[in-house]
Assembly symmetry: C2
Homo-oligomer: 384 residues x 2
């Protein structure tokens, strides 16, 4: 397993909003302080794209140990609209979640969802995928939107070239993302919203290093790494993530965007990443795929028809405490809403427990052996 | 409002499984005892057609004050199959619900869902709407199936002619339903499953009366009234329900199948009905229609875009305690699963509270004035 030494680039050991409580190899356990409370890291953020985690209420999410949620500026801007959420007291009150919220800037969604994009140095023009309305995002406007939503952590606007884009295209996008980051940084203030920079550079490690150094010079309160797990080979993802982590300051939270499988989260934590978000636990749950202590389990398989075991016999979530694989299989085949609810409950509990286990292993200085044993168990298909 | 005197036809005042605790006019508050616990009546049974109330877990249902659930023999026989549920310890264990369960016999579903029906005196042959497999239900087999599921209350197989069927067709169906009831009654025993008879007879009050008397002579532990609210005019539903209730013994629970709107439940309770099931609160919730203290509310209307009030300001359910109409409208338009969950939570809480309010009004002998005032409030569209 790759382990990365803490980088030492002359920035204070800790800041007001991020305190490191323990380190083990490259992995760190810290506490991030936001306007809506603290987050113990490594932390996983369930995805509430449209202001709701699909299948769960805020009460359910608290019960699973959720500390912080991710929502999407792009989606909320298009529907219901920032002014509506502002009128209703901000995003926290709107969605009934009083814990920390981080919003993605919308950059990634503009490139992956919206038709008719036109990118200039000024910003990005696109059509809403909902009603075709033309929208113009600038680095300044997306920060203003996120502040209007009242979120705890905002992301800068970035340009995400597609996987496999040629070097000159990636270089242009990375330079433009940097110039946008400069403009975004100027809008940082003590208003309660922390603005994180986003490292781009595709799979070109020299571009990644260069972009890191330039962003670090801007002194953001935290750094995200974007444009990974977008279609490149898995070995490349791991290599680029490792190289990038080395360049980021030790005393700031490091957020690896949009990943990943449980075993990969362990590898990324070993590199020194602190924050994650991913649709895998929630989207897979809706498709009948459950993450368990012994690997992944496709609950729809015929072999579970009469299986009275819980999805994960080592799990103590509500689903595993009360229901059999046979029942979950039935609900999934019958397309019952409860299939999504119970599977999402399990998968998110599983992710949250994994993060807590990592925090414990780091504090106890047993991360490397714990990680090796856990990855081995996770990287098999479930054999009940 | 029509109020019906308790019928006096020579049957004991109360039985082991049904005790009347209070009466007010025709309305009764009772306690029905089943193998999985007691049910205070009047009671509403949420519909768990395929072994799950769409959008809610058993934990959620308990939290709403649910006493008893309804599931469907037809659906569970076709998928996952009775033998599967039996292997997994019965329906209660399978679906994680330890309270009483009543199953419909499947008669109504065969006529409304299954293609290629052939009805003979022996039983009904039909094709599964899921996989086209041919299935033959007899009065005996559906009771055996329900006993195999381990339910607390089973329904006899009946024949339900469509609304508007001519008298001779309804008469034939009613006679056949009676002969099936005779065969079903012979299978009643002290196994823990109470078998209820079902009154048919369409909109012909003389057929209804005749069928009642014949069924009452068979001495079922409870009586259901079927074939109403299937398309006939609403005034006819109320008249036939009232006439039928008069013929049913006072000391047995009376179950009016498949109805209805909140204001109608009050009218039916006034006639002396004790048990109800209906998809209205759950299905309407999924379509954005909420029942409130001041009438129905279509949460998708534009006028709720910035409405910070809860769906029902007089309600203390989880949804009304935490979320605005504006948020629920957003979730519904965005087709989020949480829209269904939160609206179903409210609607079922609303129905359960209505039943408790009726129980209280009966015990306090204030049912008539309470009913008049409540129906007036419910029969308006919500004017926020």
């Amino acid at each position: 397993m790759m382990q990365v030494s803490p980088s030492k680039i002359g920035i204070p050991e800790s800041t007001d909003h991020f305190q490191i409580r323990g380190e083990d190899g490259g992995a760190r356990c810290g506490v991030m302080t936001t306007a809506h409370g603290q987050v113990v890291t490594p932390a996983f953020m369930p995805v509430a794209t449209q202001g709701s985690v699909k299948g769960l209420t805020p009460r359910d999410l608290r019960g699973l140990g959720t500390q912080i949620l991710l929502a999407n500026t792009y989606h909320l801007t298009l529907r219901p609209g920032v002014d509506v959420i502002q009128d209703l007291g901000g995003l926290h009150r709107f969605m009934g979640w009083d814990g920390p919220i981080l919003t993605d800037s919308g950059g990634y969604q503009v490139y992956s969802l919206a038709p008719l994009r036109k990118i200039t140095d000024e910003g990005v023009l696109f059509r809403s995928h909902i009603d075709g309305q033309t929208v113009f995002f600038t680095p300044e406007s997306v920060i203003q939107i996120q502040k209007a939503l009242g979120v705890d952590i905002a992301m800068v606007l970035d340009e995400c070239p597609p996987a496999g884009a040629p070097r000159n295209q990636v270089e242009t996008a990375t330079r433009r993302s940097l110039s946008w980051a400069v403009r975004s940084r100027a809008l940082s203030d003590s208003s309660g919203t922390l603005v994180f920079g986003i490292v781009q550079g595709g799979t070109f490690t020299d571009l990644r290093r260069w972009h890191c150094r330039e962003l670090v010079a801007l002194d953001f309160p935290g750094y995200a790494v974007g444009g990974l797990s977008v279609g490149e080979e898995r070995g490349v993802t791991l290599e680029v993530a490792a190289v990038t982590a080395e360049e980021l300051p030790r005393d700031r939270p490091r957020y690896l965007m949009g990943v990943g499988y449980p075993e990969d989260l362990i590898r990324f934590v070993a590199m020194g990443y602190d924050l994650f978000d991913c649709v895998l636990p929630t989207r897979n749950a809706r498709n009948g795929l459950l993450f368990t202590s012994n690997g992944r389990l496709n609950i729809r398989l015929a072999r579970f028809q009469r299986d009275e075991n819980p999805p994960d016999p080592l799990c103590s979530c509500y689903t595993c405490s009360n229901f059999s694989r046979a029942y979950l299989r039935h609900l999934s085949l019958a397309k019952e809403i409860s299939a999504a609810i119970l599977a999402t409950t399990h998968n998110l509990y599983f992710y949250q427990r994994l993060m807590r286990d990592m925090q414990t292993a780091i504090i106890r200085h047993s991360f490397a052996p714990w990680a090796e044993a856990t990855i081995a168990r996770l990287e098999q298909e479930c054999q009940p």
